[in-house]
Every structure is written in C-alpha cells, then in structure tokens.
C-alpha cells in the first residue's frame, strides 16, 4: 500500500509559497499559472492546481475558439430567438417544437480517444453526449454518428473503423436509443486522426427544462451513478508523484475510459424518474474534467458557493489521491442539487434502479467552492474563476500562402469522359467508391427500430423520429460536412455543410429550425488552421443568420493533426427540423413504376472538390460550388409544402456524386428503375456536378401540375427528366442515347465495397 506523505492543503499552500509546482507538466503556461496565483493570492494547493489545469485546458475552456464562437450569439435575430428556449452556454440548446413540446440536441466529438481505443473511445463518446441531453431534463430519443477515418484500404482503418462502429453500436444499442443517421467518410487526412462525432436528440416539455445551477444555500449535493476510478487521468499522475514517496508511486493511471452502457441506461431511467418526481433543482453530468467541472460550473452558474467532502465520493479504486478524484473522467456519473427534505425520496428512487447515490456536500452562500479531504481543506476558490474565467486567446491567423495555388487549380479543367460507355463506367465507379457506396455494413450494426418511433433512418436523407404518438409530430435530423469544400474555401465550405444538412432535413418534409455544430480542426497554434477556423465560424454564423436558424450548441475539437499536417477542416453541421405529422414525411426511394421524375434546382458546371474529381482524377483544387442560401430556402419551402400536401412519392437531395448518385440511391432503395433524358448540358456536368440547392423527386403524373405551380411560386427551376420504369433487379437506369445500367449490376458494385474491405479484417 502506498502511504501519502503530505496532503497539500490550502493552509500549507499559504505557508509554503515557494514550493515548485508542476504546472507546465499539467499543460499550463507560465502566465496562466501566475494568473491562478493572482486569483488566489497565494500558490494553489495541488488539488486546486489540478482543477485549474484541467478546466483551463483547450478542451474545457475554449480558450482559442471563444472569441470566434461569440459570433453565433451575436448574429441572433429576433426571428431566430423565437423558438430558442435555451441557447449556447448550457449542456445543450433547447428549441420549441410546438404543442408545449421542446427538443434538445447536441453534437460532440470523441476523436483522440477513439484513435487510442476505438471501441471504448466511441462508446464513451456516445455515453457523454447522452448525459448532456439527459442533464437538460429530456428523455434521449435518438442518436446520430458522424465518422471520419483514413483510406478504406489502409491497415489502420481496419482497426479503427470496425472498433468505432462496434463501440457506437455496443453503447447506443444497449441504451435503447435508435441510431437514425450519420456519416462515414474516408480521407487520408483522417488516418491517425479519426473523427468520431456523436449527436443525441432528447424530448421534453417546456416546463421540464433543467439547468446546471446550484442555488439555495442548504441544498444538498448528490453524486450518483458509477463509482469513481482512475479513468482518463493519465496526465495528473505528475501531481500524484509529487506527493508520494518515490518508491511507492502508483502505477501510471490509464488514460482511456471504459464505458458501462448498462449503468448509463439505469442512470437515464433513474434520472427521468427523479425529474418526474420533481426531486432535482439543478443537475450536471460528469464528463470531461469530472468533479472539477461539475462542482465549479454548478456553483458558478448558480451564483452560490459549495462545500464538498471529497472523501465521501465512492471509489472503485481506494488508492486514488484527492487530485485524481477531482480529475477522474469515470463515466456514467451525474451530480444533482437536491432540497434537504427531498434527499430521502431521491435516494429511494436511486435505490429502486440500483444506482448508488451519495450526499457529498451542500450549497452555501459563501461564493466559494471549498473542498475538504479527511477534515482538511484542500480547495478554496471562487468557482467562476475555475469554470469561466479561464484565459482567452486571440490566436494569430493567416491565410496560408499555398491557398491561392489550390484555389486556382480547378477541376473544371480536368479531362472529361467522352461517350456513353465511359459515362456508364464512371457512374459505376463512383457508386462503388468508398465515400458513396452502401453504408449498411456500418448501419446494420445499429438498432434503428427500438422505441418504435423511427419513421426514417439510414439510408434516408434525414433521420425522422415521431415524438408524439397522438399528433404524429416529429423531428428530423441530419449531420453533414464536405470537408474538401471547406479546405478549398472555409467560409463557403462551412455554409455548404450547413446548406446540405438543411436540405436533407427539408427534403424529408421537415421545416429546419435549429443547428448544432462540431468544429474539428488541426492545431490552433498554426495560424493557417486558425484562419480556417475563423473563416468557417464566420461562414456558419452568417449562413445561419441568412437561413434564420440559430446555432444552439456544439463542440470544438482542435489538435487533430499528425506532425504539421492537419486534417481537412471539418465543421460538421447538424440541423434539426420539425414536421407536424410524420405520416407526411418523404422518403428517398422511388416507390414504383409510372411516376414522373423531376430535378429541382439549377445545375452549373461545378466539379471542383467533387467526388468525380477525387475518384476519377484524385484531384482536389478550385472553388467549391457556389453557395446560394436563398435558393436553398426556396427549395426547402417547396419540399415542405409538397410533403404537407402529399404530392411526392420520393425526394432525395443532390450532394456528393451529383445527379448520378441520387439516381443510383433512389433506384436501389426499393429496386425501381428509371428512364431519363439528360437536360442539354454536357452530360458529365449533368450527371456529376455538385451544384447546391437541388433535389431529385418523383410523383404521380396527376400531381405534376401542382408541383409546377409550387416551383414557380417559389422560383425554383424544375426539369422533367423522365419516368420510373420497371421493378426488380432487371430494371435499369436508362439514360437516353447514352447508356443503360441494370440495377443488379449496379447493386453488386455499390454493396460489396465495405464488406470486402472490412469483413475478417
């Protein structure tokens, strides 16, 4: 057994100002350390140092991004505020969806942990975002996962991707949350830097919103859920080693966290029952920075003080030091503020669910966060200084010199295939390419049916969930980002990501109302990366303002890079929409022969950054497709109106792979063929251009007149391409005068790519 030599207390810190502290090893800069000393008027105790170092880290303090993220709040208009019940700054934003119902949703990254241990990294990423949603007072109802990994044929991708998928599925399936969407993208820049972004949606009534606030002196602080172990605190062992006799140093603590989805499921049901019984006045999940974060944020937001008796925290590993307990990222824990007379009923509910709960302290009106350990004071700080007054940096930013060359190297000048045979082969090659092929190897590992409210899930454009069985009210969610476009132009690229997610939601028949974002970038210390970041945030904020939908919350993940090479800048955008009656949603697949097929929107010669350019020419350069958010809104108006009138049999947005890929997916969904004539453009452009604000729709011929009216009313160009023809494997995509492609052949190409690369990997 290790014996602790010295407990570094607040008193001791006052008496020994000159003790050398390992602030640099904890990631603090010297001016940050001086700032802490200034705040406290003495050196911090080792526990205080632990808390500040983790709370002032990039991950928790947003020190590099804060000045930019302000734009989201500053660009809010009254129209955007209308539905916003809770905005940026809480665990997740909350929006009104009508009938007294509200929806909360947020996306978060768990990138690096998923590289180190793909299964557990992804699993605990899901667990973390679900607790954020739960902490708002909501019942979690759906998950989406947005994944980016290295090339499909890279050896490490076969370690990372199957592990991540099994982890997302293993955790989400066990929670009983339907997985209704996401992305799987392959690109060399993500080798060694996979992105695992998980989005959770929750539903609550307006009066059920809970906030992370500790108020009311005398209220109790309850920690409940899993016991605390040495998870994810590899970094703090430097502190432990300071206070342990060298020979008795504990082994280096693991830096990975292991998830227990069963515990989380109990935590969800238990917490919902606690909300229901009105037994909670404030609540916070324990995620990054664990108890340091939960205690300081609760106390600071409540404008109160808090006294915690740290030795009451139930431990899985009794050798943990107080510093380690404060920083442990053990999963499946929550902290609640409870009125004294409610503590007994609170404990009874926890007991019923088999969830351990412990009263570890109280809310005070001292304005200080104080923490005691075995009768000695080890922390005495102003909670706001830990939670909110971290350093803020205006990092230098600079448009990289190479950017001009990249922008001028446009794909429109690449050689184009000539005749029908070559176009046919290109359609097949794109359909079979890793970024466009069938995703079911991944999505079949996710339960999309549980809870019985899933109206649309993969491979539809948006996940659609019914949230009220009586009225049929539902929400639609989609996450998107074409990072190549962001690389070519971060401002426009971020807007294109927004536009795509917005369009996916609208095409399913839902009205887009809110945004969440996960900004995955390289190092903020690289001025080029910082320029990308600033431009992307500016683009997103401006775009949201034009579309009149607010950003309600999100997450920033920096340092996704290997050496000096950053990932493609990847601001993943999640858009949430509302649909009054989910029976009126529009699916992507052609439903049967004899329907008219239309292309809505305008197609331009826009091939830079496209799948065609990458797959056929391995080329990235030029300007991304033009952003036209007004056209995007007009298209959405048509799609939402058409869905409400039940005009359409199917609707599918055009994005990666252009019209060709939209046809492939609409045909293969139910095995229905199509006969079309391309409009009078260069056929390559007609098939593969990735111009925005477009959708492929099919409808009974009796409805064509009404569709034409709607389109002209909103100024959306529409082109009749042809009709659906035939059903089954022998049905074809028949492009007049150019080629025909039997669905059987197409399906074989489209569906074998992932299994043949990943099975028995």
């Amino acid at each position: 057994m290790t014996t602790r030599l010295v407990l570094d207390t607040v008193a001791l810190a006052g008496e020994t100002p000159d003790v050398q502290q390992p602030w640099a090893d904890l990631g603090l800069k010297d001016d940050e350390y001086s700032q802490i000393r200034a705040i406290l008027g003495r050196r911090p105790s080792s526990s205080e140092l632990a808390m500040y170092s983790v709370m002032w880290s990039e991950h928790c303090s947003y020190k590099s991004s804060k000045v930019h993220l302000r734009r989201f709040g500053e660009s809010l208009t009254d129209a955007m505020r209308q539905r916003l019940l809770v905005g940026i700054g809480e665990n997740a934003g909350v929006v009104d969806v009508g009938d007294g119902l509200a929806v909360t949703f947020k996306i978060e990254s768990h990138n690096h942990p998923s590289y180190v241990e793909p299964y557990q990294g992804a699993a605990t990423g899901v667990g973390g975002i679900v607790r954020d949603i739960l902490a708002m007072g909501a019942r979690p109802v759906a998950l989406l996962d947005s994944l980016r990994v290295g090339p499909l044929d890279a050896v490490d991708t076969r370690r990372v991707l199957p592990g991540v998928v099994a982890g997302v599925g293993g955790y989400g399936n066990c929670l009983g949350l339907p997985n209704v969407g996401g992305e799987v993208v392959f690109d060399p820049s993500y080798a060694g830097n996979p992105l695992v972004n998980a989005l959770c949606v929750g539903v609550l009534r307006h009066d059920e919103v809970h906030l992370a606030k500790a108020s009311g002196a005398g209220n109790r602080v309850l920690l409940y859920g899993a016991a605390t172990g040495g998870d994810g605190i590899g970094g703090v062992s430097v502190l432990a080693s300071e206070t342990f006799e060298a020979a008795h140093r504990p082994a280096k603590r693991p830096s990975v966290q292991v998830g227990d989805p069963f515990m989380e499921k109990l935590l969800i049901e238990c917490t919902l029952e606690l909300f229901n019984g009105q037994l909670i006045t404030g609540i916070q999940d324990l995620g990054g920075a664990g108890l340091s974060c939960a205690t300081s944020e609760l106390a600071s937001s409540g404008g109160s003080g808090m006294r915690i008796q740290l030795d009451l925290v139930p431990l899985r590993d009794t050798s943990l030091t107080p510093e380690e307990i404060l920083m442990s990222e053990s999963q499946e824990r929550m902290m609640a503020i409870v009125e004294p007379q409610q503590v007994q009923p609170f404990l009874a509910v926890c007991d019923r669910w088999g969830v351990e709960a412990t009263d570890i302290g109280e809310v005070t009106d001292s304005g200080r966060l104080v923490i005691d350990w075995q009768g000695q004071r080890i922390v005495d700080v102003p909670p706001g200084s830990v939670a909110h007054d971290g350093p803020v940096y205006e990092r230098p930013l600079c448009r990289p010199a190479a950017h001009d060359a990249l922008a001028s190297d446009s794909a429109e000048r690449l050689s184009r295939p000539g005749g029908g045979a070559e176009l046919r082969a290109t359609v097949l090659a794109l359909a079979a390419s890793p970024n466009l092929c069938d995703r079911s190897w991944v999505t079949d590992q996710y339960d999309r049916y549980v809870q019985g409210n899933t109206v649309l899930a993969q491979p539809e454009d948006a996940g659609v969930i019914r949230i009220d069985e009586g009225s049929g009210r539902g929400v639609a969610v989609s996450t998107d980002c074409n990072a190549r476009f962001v690389q070519l132009d971060p401002y426009a690229g971020a807007q294109l990501a927004l536009a795509e997610a917005y369009r996916n939601v609208a095409v399913s028949g839902a009205r887009p109302i809110a945004v969440t974002d996960c900004l995955n970038f390289g190092s903020p210390e690289d001025p080029g990366v910082m320029w990308q970041f600033a431009e992307a945030v500016r683009g997103l904020a401006d775009g949201c303002r034009e579309l009149e939908i607010p950003v309600t919350g999100g997450n920033v993940s920096f340092y996704n890079q290997t050496g000096d090479t950053a990932i493609l800048p990847t601001p993943v955008v999640g858009v949430l929409g509302v649909i009054d009656d989910v029976r009126r949603r529009t699916p992507i697949g052609f439903t049967g022969p004899g329907c008219a097929v239309y292309l809505l929107g305008e197609t331009r010669d826009e091939l830079s950054g496209s799948e065609w350019a990458v797959v056929v020419h391995d080329h990235l350069g030029g300007h991304p497709p033009a952003v036209d958010l007004a056209a995007e809104r007009a298209l959405a108006d048509v799609m939402v109106a058409a869905a409400a009138e039940r005009l359409l049999s199917s609707a599918h947005d055009l994005s990666e792979g252009g019209l060709a890929q939209a046809l492939v997916e609409s045909c293969l969904r139910r095995g229905v063929g199509v006969g079309i004539a391309l409009p009078g453009l260069d056929p390559l452009v007609a098939l593969f251009s990735e111009s925005t604000s477009r959708a492929l729709v099919s409808l009974p011929t009796t409805q064509e007149v009404r569709l034409a009216e709607l389109c002209s009313e909103h100024g959306v160009p529409s082109t009749r391409l042809g009709e659906t023809v035939g059903i089954g494997g022998a049905a074809e995509i028949d492009v007049a005068a150019l080629f025909n492609l039997p669905l059987d052949e197409l399906r074989a190409a489209w569906s074998t790519t992932l299994p043949s690369a990943l099975d028995n990997a």
Partner: protein
C-alpha cells in the same frame, strides 16, 4: 384481457411490446423484475433488450430475478409466455425452452428486416398465421445463433416445435435456420426477431408482427 410485459434493468423493447399489446386490443400491464407478483395477467411478454447489460451471457442474470420465479411457475401451468430476443435468451437460460443462443457467427450485431417462415400455427402466439406463411419482421441481435445438441434438434423437428425459420441467408448462424421455438405444450414461445417492431406501417417493415399479439388473445379466450 391483460398481458404483462416485464421490465428488467436493461430491458429496451418493453415500451414497444406494450404498444403492440395495446394495438392488438389488450391491456398492457407493466411488470417489474423485482416482484414475484404477476398482477393477475393472462399472458406475459419478456421483451428484448440487454437485461443486466447482458455482460455475462444474455439472459443469465435475469433468470434469477424474482419475477422469473413467478413466470416459470405460471408457464408450467400453461400461461402463454412470449420471449422476444433477450426474452428468448432468458427462456432458454431458465430451462423453459431447450437449447441456447450464442454469438452471431458474423461476430457482429445485426439489425435488418428479416423474412421468416411460420412453421407452427398451433402455439398460443402464432394461431393467427397460416402455416408456412412468409412474413417480415425486424431482426436485431448480437447473440442470436440458436444451438442445441443433435437429439434436442431432432426432437424439436419431430414434434413440430420449430415455430419460425429464417428465409434467405442465415443471419446469425442459427442451427437449421431456427428463428423461434416453443415448448411441448405450445404456450411458451421464444423468438429471436421482433414482432413488436412490425405492428404499424410507419415505424417498421409493415404489420406482419401484429398477429403474435392477436393470437394470444384468442388463445386466452379459448382457454
């Protein structure tokens, strides 16, 4: 007519099973794992999910819960019991049905719309189907491979106790493509696929699953 739906810690499809029972026209009665009271129900559904996390073996810990004591004796007296997915695993672990369910041969969780052939319409839960009818339900499991020794398999076949078989590619390595079986009396049925996810056109692959729940209504009325 009252149909109990048990909730174990970690049950997930209990909500769906209750909805399916209601849509069939019966009262859905929630039953809690920790009591040995069956609240006067006429039949019991053990729903899907990951009871106790399914960490040890699926269904291995749920078997020892108080409610399973009551379900086991009621089943032995003839009460209709349907175990779906995790419920099927619990029935096997409880020795109410023979054999066991092991890890899918793909070693992956699989969720997909699955064709089945109904091969026994004499059970309490399948009387509303026609023999050899082909239906589509949702299959979603990580450990759905049915195994039993040769003698048990032979006996199941001889006695016509294979209730449903997978059509097309075997999704999980189940012996003889077995998707569901029943006990000798036909009151206890275990089924890997999920009929409760196929009870309306909107949120699942059609309505082929409804008749599991209407079947039991007539079974109870007839009894």
């Amino acid at each position: 007519m009252r149909v109990g739906v048990v909730t174990f810690p970690g049950s997930l499809d209990d909500v769906d099973a209750r909805r399916a029972v209601r849509l069939a026209g019966a009262d859905a009665v929630p039953l809690w794992h920790g009591t040995d009271e069956l609240a006067g129900v006429d039949a019991v559904v053990l729903p899907g999910g990951f009871s106790y996390g399914d960490y040890l073996r699926c269904g291995a810990i749920a078997r020892f819960s108080p409610v399973m004591g009551a379900v086991t004796s009621a089943a032995r007296r003839g009460m209709p019991v349907l175990g779906i997915c995790n419920g099927f695993q619990i029935l096997c672990e409880s020795n109410l049905l023979p054999g066991a369910l092991v890890r899918n041969d793909s070693r992956r969780f699989v969720c997909r719309d699955q064709g089945l052939r109904i091969e026994n319409t004499a059970t309490a839960w399948t009387s509303a189907y026609t023999l050899r009818e082909e239906v589509t339900l949702v299959l979603k499991n990580g450990e759905g491979g049915y195994v039993a020794n040769a003698a048990t398999l032979q006996r199941l076949e001889d006695e016509g106790r294979v209730v449903a078989r997978y059509l097309g590619d075997n999704p999980n390595g189940s012996m003889r493509e077995i998707a569901g079986i029943c006990n000798e009396r036909g009151n206890v049925v275990g089924l890997m696929p999920h009929p409760e996810h196929a009870v309306n056109d909107l949120c699942g692959p059609g309505t082929d699953g409804s008749r599991f729940f209407t079947s039991v209504l007539s079974a109870v009325v007839a009894a």
